[in-house]
Amino acid sequence: MTAQPEASGSAAPERLRAVQARNAPGPRDAIAKRAPRKWSLAWLGLVPFFLFAFAFMLLPTVSIVTGSFQDGQGAFTLVNFAHLFRADILGSYLITIKVSATTALLGGLLGFLIAYAITLGGLPKPFRSFMSTFSGVASNFAGVPLAFAFISTLGRVGFVTVLLRTLFGIDLYGAGFNLYSFWGLSLTYTYFQIPLMVLIITPAIDGMKKEWREAAENLGASALQYWLRVGVPVLLPALLAAFILLFGNAFGAYATAYALTGGLINLVPILIGAQIRGNVLHDSQLGYALAFGMVIVMTLSILAYSWFQKLSSRWVK
């Protein structure tokens, strides 16, 4: 660019200085003192919520914990915890853990496969929203109606039982199957575990970048190699988190077991229920210890769950 007629060597620095002077911080730029934050009033607005949560959620839970450390007269004791190690109580915990772990695994695996099918499986779009809605409904279909449904299906004169006998000559009950047993209960629980898994794991699968698959293919990997080396490892934290959630879900379940087996199978929730209702084994202090044990299990579950969730979100953004 050629110089303008009135430009001289000193004009430019002068203009620069003038511009700098104009933009220098002045009195009006002085940082205004901020008014002190009105803390107390804002917190007041949360009182109703916290009051309610405290009164009807925290207090009851804490009272269970304190109750487990007390005897019938209210004195401090650890006797209830000793009772937890009675053979029958331990057996109860064991079977509850078995049911929870089994249904978490079954529900987790099948739920994952279904979730995979509706996300990456190449199915037409409407399928996904249908399965999501259905999963939402099915995961809520628990408790008494579910028990009835399975009785109608796999009970002694259930639909499938009869069908298998008349069409295929298979005698389920003769072969030792019983709906009101461990496997019957597990099968029933799995009915809501699968959709719960679908709902939980679908976002995680969505979060997997399709470019990972393409990059792996580009580098020579087959589909199996991709899943083994990249897909499953990346999903593992999310899968473990989901498994733990399913486990906790089954562990605390009362209604379905109650409606299906009526107390036949001594799950921990059933045992607790029996204490509350004052049945033969009525020993409410023991009930508190049982409940406390359950609270421990749930707390450990939720901690493990959050840890795995955090891990998962680091990779699958």
């Binding site: 110089a3 203009r15 990059a215 580009n218 990249v230």
Partner: protein, 368 residues
């Protein structure tokens, strides 16, 4: 025969045709860029070469053999994605080693190659880091190393720098070019950034609506654009409405001011035309041979370039010059004269009609 050839490649998604009969020859060791706006088909074409999209019609040949039968994991082409796509569960070293492990290479050989690659991208200390611990630029470099580790026959890059900050982008693109030169690997690079394409490519293919508008060296594309689309897409361009004054002498009138364009115009006197001039072809002053007078509307500092926007009648002309701190920029409202050479003018019909006679040196225009 060229190393990579595309013959009349067509790609349709249902009734939507995204790539329309594209033909192309890429030489071994060449760095070719696909340049265009979104939807022009550049990424789709790249993905067809990589094998992630099927070819609706036409053929893709690599070193003479047809690629359409070959699944993507057997094509031995290295691909770099826009969002890096590093495997989050693996360290940098294991990411780079991935392709080698799949190919069944032994541990010692793999380790040696990984080290070579880390040296190439200057990230020797990062071997045990995980992708989420790296910046965007670092991740992309690892992605590049990962793609090159297997010594692929060609390198495909899909807008690799779009997700990065401007400064990193500049540095990384030079690195990519340097590595490509050092390895002599045939490279196809997709981008929407024309400055990027021009600065690192051997040839640039400007794409539009599924076709190649023009393909050529950056110098040609910029200085001798084959179509008005290419002219306006590449760099900045002043496009002025003008009327023909004397067709045989190539004289035109812009806002009442007359000048010559150096070559005859295939139109009648009084005809409506467009005259295009690059901003850097204009200089301030009366020197001529062509002159345009106007009023300074705006002065923009673009870093090393100072762009003066001058109002000529009802139109605006941008004039670029190098920044010089000792010079005073023109004031807004000042009267200013611009000078330029007749050869700097490109004359076209309005609405992107084909160029008139003898306008441009013979260059490949849109590939059929």
């Amino acid at each position: 025969m060229a190393f990579l050839e595309l013959h009349e490649v067509v790609k349709s998604f249902g009734r939507n045709t995204v790539v329309r009969g594209l033909s192309l020859s890429v030489e071994k060791g060449e760095f070719l860029s696909f340049l265009g706006g979104s939807g022009c088909g550049k990424t789709t074409t790249l993905r067809m070469i990589a094998g992630f999209e099927t070819v609706t019609a036409g053929a893709i040949l690599l070193d003479g053999s047809d690629l359409s039968r070959v699944p993507p994991n057997k094509r031995n082409l290295g691909m770099v994605f826009q969002n890096y796509a590093l495997f989050p569960n693996m360290t940098v070293a294991r990411n780079i080693a991935f392709g080698l492990k799949i190919a069944g290479k032994k541990g010692g050989e793999v380790a040696k190659r990984v080290e070579e690659m880390l040296e190439l991208i200057h990230m020797g200390d990062f071997a045990e880091r995980y992708p989420h611990q790296l910046s965007g630029g670092q991740q992309q470099r690892v992605a590049l190393a990962r793609a090159l580790a297997r010594r692929p026959s060609a390198l495909l890059l899909d807008e690799p720098l779009s997700a990065l900050d401007a400064k990193i982008r500049l540095r990384l693109r030079d690195d990519i070019r340097a590595i490509q030169r050092a390895l002599g690997i045939t490279t196809i690079y997709v981008t929407h950034d024309q400055e990027e394409a021009l600065s690192i490519s051997d040839r640039v293919a400007v794409m539009r609506e599924g076709r190649i508008e023009q393909i050529g060296a950056p110098f040609e594309i910029y200085n001798a654009p084959g179509t008005p689309y290419v002219a306006t897409f590449i760099g900045t361009l002043n496009v002025l409405a003008a009327t023909v004054k004397d067709p045989s002498k190539g004289e035109v009138v812009v806002e009442g001011q007359t000048f010559g364009t150096g070559k005859p115009i295939g139109d009648n006197a009084g005809g409506d035309i467009r005259v295009s001039i690059r901003p850097e072809a204009l200089t301030a002053g009366d020197a001529g041979p062509n002159r345009l007078k106007g009023t300074v509307q705006n002065v923009k500092f673009l870093g090393s370039i100072v762009r003066v926007v001058i109002r000529v009648g009802s139109q605006f002309v941008s004039m670029d010059g190098f920044n010089d701190p000792s010079l005073v920029p023109p004031r807004i409202g000042e009267e200013l004269s611009m000078s330029f050479a007749p050869q700097a003018c490109m004359v076209t019909k309005p609405e992107a009609a084909p160029l008139p006679i003898a306008a441009v040196d013979e260059e490949e225009t849109a590939e059929a």
